[in-house]
């Protein structure tokens, strides 16, 4: 069979990062191709190349034997390539028909919108995917699954030949996922070529006909699903040469510092229990949305668990607010530094001392000299590159802002530090510095929890790894059992028997 769409030799670089390097991808009419790879493998980049958001630096896109370029997203959709994204972008206050046709509504006389044609077209599209929805209903009155159907109808409204589904089931319930599978079958029957991106192995094996695996921006392999095992796919995904060097660590683990038992939340996580020891780095691995950050936010007092207890140094700790968490010796460096980390507008030294103002006050008034001393001590330890400590923190680079945020927390002299995706979005040099520093903290007796989605980092830095899936702890591995395969299997929910 001839592929309808072929990509060959596609490369794409961003400053400092090679996102795609000479990759290939074929999509066949009436078949589902699953694109598989870890976070950072280049899946999102290839979708953006396919939909005209990014321009590749090299390579060809061939549609029906013709070489094409997609200089804009419009050009891609005009050629019949359309994508349904993880978070569907729709308009709550508009009707179903308007949402489907927005931007390319059928025109009648005088260039005005032809409402009759728009309603009929919407009805036809909705019927073709088996959705019984009223074209005149307001979108806000529909459930999530119905909104998803509208998004799909919208994607098909451009006379689509290639449909890209980027983790379409991430936000859906079991029943809705089932309906989506049926829809995929319908689209296959209509001869559409489907690119299906998913982390869930069960659904890949359920609906895909072919697979393509990317790793670190490179093409690893392709084939038919019927001719491959889960074990083989996992191996293709993670089988990398370890090219990152991690600092040597002594693994001197002391007495328990933090004990969490039966932590539960009504909707986000259940029955979380673990023990963190002095001088230990405990990795938390899982897919995006597995509930890792939510557990950490509960430990830090941002949300409250409905059940469960937490002990620090043997004593029960009740944490109802972030202030109490800091008091108890737990600090949290959030993933989203821009939004949750530094206070832009305040100078560097005031950012560092913000949670420690009590320690630098005398009789209710702040002592500027002591504030400066505290800030200088900790920023020097982190090797912060800044012209002056009274400079606005917003003028620093991302890596240096990260250092300010970490310095701020170390200045409170915590017992437990939680780092959420500590190296996400920073360059390789800064990554190594952060890793080095984490190893130093642990060696000094601080207990570190590291939430990370990068397998090499989790394996390279942690003494033990806890894997979460769908809000629960599904595995705890240490020592020789800490292998990439073990983490991916546990996170994706692959049974041992299937290997």
């Amino acid at each position: 069979m001839q592929p309808v769409l072929s990509l060959r030799g596609i490369s794409k670089s961003f400053p400092g990062v090679k996102a795609l390097s000479d990759v290939q991808l074929d999509l066949y009419p009436g078949e589902v191709t699953a694109l598989i790879g870890e976070n950072g493998a280049g899946k999102s980049t290839i979708v953006k190349v396919l939909t005209g958001v990014y321009q590749p630096d090299a390579g060809t896109i061939t549609l029906d034997g013709q070489d094409l370029r997609f200089p804009t997203p419009d050009a891609a959709s005009a050629a019949g390539v359309t994508a349904i994204h993880q978070e569907t972008v729709l308009f709550d206050e508009l009707t179903v028909a308007e949402n489907i046709w927005l931007g390319h509504a059928p025109r009648g006389r005088f260039g005005l919108i032809d409402w009759t044609a728009m309603r009929e077209g919407a009805k036809r599209l909705l019927d073709s995917i088996g959705a019984r929805l009223d074209p005149d209903a307001r979108l806000k009155d529909l459930g999530i699954a119905s909104k998803h159907l509208v998004a799909i109808a919208r994607a098909l409204s451009v006379d689509a030949r290639v449909v890209i589904m980027d983790e379409p089931t991430a936000a859906l319930s079991h029943k809705e996922i089932h309906e989506l599978y049926e829809l995929v079958e319908t689209l296959k029957a209509q001869g559409k070529a489907i690119l299906f991106i998913s982390h869930k192995f069960d659904e890949i094996f359920r609906i895909a006909d072919r697979f393509t695996v990317f790793r670190d921006g490179q093409f690893v392999g392709t084939g038919k699903i019927a001719e491959v095992s889960e074990g083989k796919l996992v191996q293709m995904m993670v089988g990398r040469s370890v090219d990152q060097i991690f600092p040597a660590r002594s693994h001197n683990v002391g007495e328990p510092v933090l004990t969490v038992a039966g932590y539960s939340h009504p909707t986000e996580f259940a029955d979380i229990g673990f023990t963190l020891h002095r001088g230990e780095i405990l990795g938390f691995y899982g897919l995006v949305g597995a509930g890792r950050s939510e557990v950490m936010q509960a430990l830090f007092g941002i949300t409250r668990p409905s059940k469960g207890a937490c002990r620090i140094g043997g004593r029960v700790a009740v944490i109802r607010s972030t202030a109490e968490a800091v008091e108890a010796g737990i600090v949290y460096v959030p993933e989203d530094r821009g939004r949750q980390g530094a206070v832009k507008g305040l100078p560097i030294f005031q950012n560092v001392t913000l949670p420690s103002l009590g320690a630098v006050s005398r009789g209710g008034f702040l002592k500027m000299a002591e504030e400066f001393k505290l800030a200088r001590d900790y920023t020097q330890r982190l090797d912060l590159r800044a012209a002056a400590l009274d400079q606005d923190v917003g003028l620093l680079s991302g890596g240096n802002q990260q250092k300010v945020v970490i310095a701020k927390w170390l200045a409170t002299k915590p017992r437990v530090i939680i780092l959420d995706e500590p190296t996400k979005g920073i360059d390789i040099g800064s990554k190594a510095a952060v890793h080095e520093f984490m190893a130093e903290l642990a060696a000094e007796g601080l207990s570190v929890i590291m939430v990370s989605s990068e397998i090499p980092e989790v394996l390279g830095m942690s003494d033990r790894v806890i894997v979460m899936r769908e809000g629960r702890i599904v595995a705890e591995v240490s020592g020789a059992a800490m292998t990439p395969e073990a983490l991916v299997r546990a996170a994706a929910g692959i049974e041992e028997a299937a290997a």
Partner: protein
């Protein structure tokens, strides 16, 4: 020249140029006695602008300050009429103002209503309360005791007490804003509320504290205003909240929160005070005065906006490097 980079210095320079320009035609305007008079006239605006500045720092706004002032002023006048000693009246109206501010703050904090909606509502409620208390009647000069009226005007080291109160509050709040944990929290909450939460600062409680301070200052000004002008009625200081917000905006306090200073608020108030006092001297018709005040506000805001526009990163190396 680096000192001119600070917004306060630029504003002080603008005020000096404005005053010098007026003095060229009307030398009498810059006599020490007249300047002291302008300062004294502007004292209520300065005090209220400090409170408003704190509220705006936390990404909120307090439109109820003038109504709060009027209600506290009326209560002060009625207490005076009932024979309550002045030493009790002043703390009582400050407490009342703080309580009215706390109503705003609690509605913002606990109920989560946007502050502009809360204070639009309470603004009307506070004015309405005066009407209910008095049935619209005025409290006139002859109904007030001499002691009640005399305090703000009493002269101390050559300046009226009202001016001294303003000076004392400017110094006190400059200290609070730069040298206390609460002052720092106001900046953090407005500068990045998400980060403030992660730092252990309660955003809602901090915003509520800002409203309480703004309310307490409004309560104090309520007494000063009624005593100085020797009259209390429903509509005193009507629309004054807009002057207060304008003083803050002119003073470089960012409506988006997180940026501002006591000095900026005070200078913003003085800038407006100089214009308001100078226009009648120059002989400009009262009909034009409002329009000119408005133009001055827009010019100041446009200037601030052009100053705070994001500057590009310096990527290119200097040629000689």
């Amino acid at each position: 020249m680096s000192i001119l980079k600070s917004r306060e210095a630029q504003l002080a320079l603008a005020i000096a140029i404005l005053t010098a320009g007026i003095a060229l035609r009307f030398p009498a305007f810059v006599t020490p006695a007249n300047l002291a008079g302008v300062f004294n006239d502007t004292s209520p605006l300065m005090i209220l602008a400090i409170g408003q500045m704190i509220v705006i720092l936390t990404k909120c706004i307090d439109l109820s300050v003038a109504a709060n002032l009027a209600l506290c002023g009326m209560v002060a006048a009625l207490m005076n009429g009932a024979g309550v000693p002045l030493a009790l009246i002043v703390p009582a109206v400050v407490a009342l103002g703080a309580a009215l501010g706390a109503v705003n703050g609690l509605l913002v904090w606990k109920v989560g209503i946007p502050s502009i909606v809360v204070t639009l509502g309470t603004m009307t409620i506070y004015r309405g309360t005066i009407f209910l208390m008095t049935a619209g009647k005025w409290v006139n000069a002859h109904q007030m005791t001499a002691e009640f009226k005399a305090l703000p005007r009493a002269s101390l080291l050559g300046l009226p007490v009202m001016s001294w109160v303003a000076i004392a509050l400017i110094l006190l709040f400059a200290l609070v804003m730069t040298r206390t944990a609460l002052g720092r929290a106001f900046f953090a909450v407005g500068g990045n509320p998400h980060a403030a939460v992660y730092t252990g600062i309660d955003v809602g409680r901090t915003q509520c504290a800002a409203f309480v301070l703004s309310g307490a200052l409004a309560g104090l000004v309520g007494y000063l205003w009624v005593a100085r002008y020797a009259v209390a009625y429903v509509d005193i200081a009507g629309g004054f909240e807009l002057d207060v917000v304008a003083a803050c905006v002119i003073g470089g306090i960012s409506i988006a929160g997180g940026v501002g200073s006591v000095g900026g608020a005070v200078l913003g108030a003085i800038f407006l005070g100089v214009i308001k006092n100078a226009l009648p001297v120059i002989g400009i018709s009262p009909f034009w005065q409002m329009a000119i005040s408005g133009i001055a506000i827009l010019l100041a805001v446009a200037f601030n906006a052009s100053q705070s526009r994001v500057k590009g990163r310096i990527i290119l190396k200097p040629a000689e490097a």
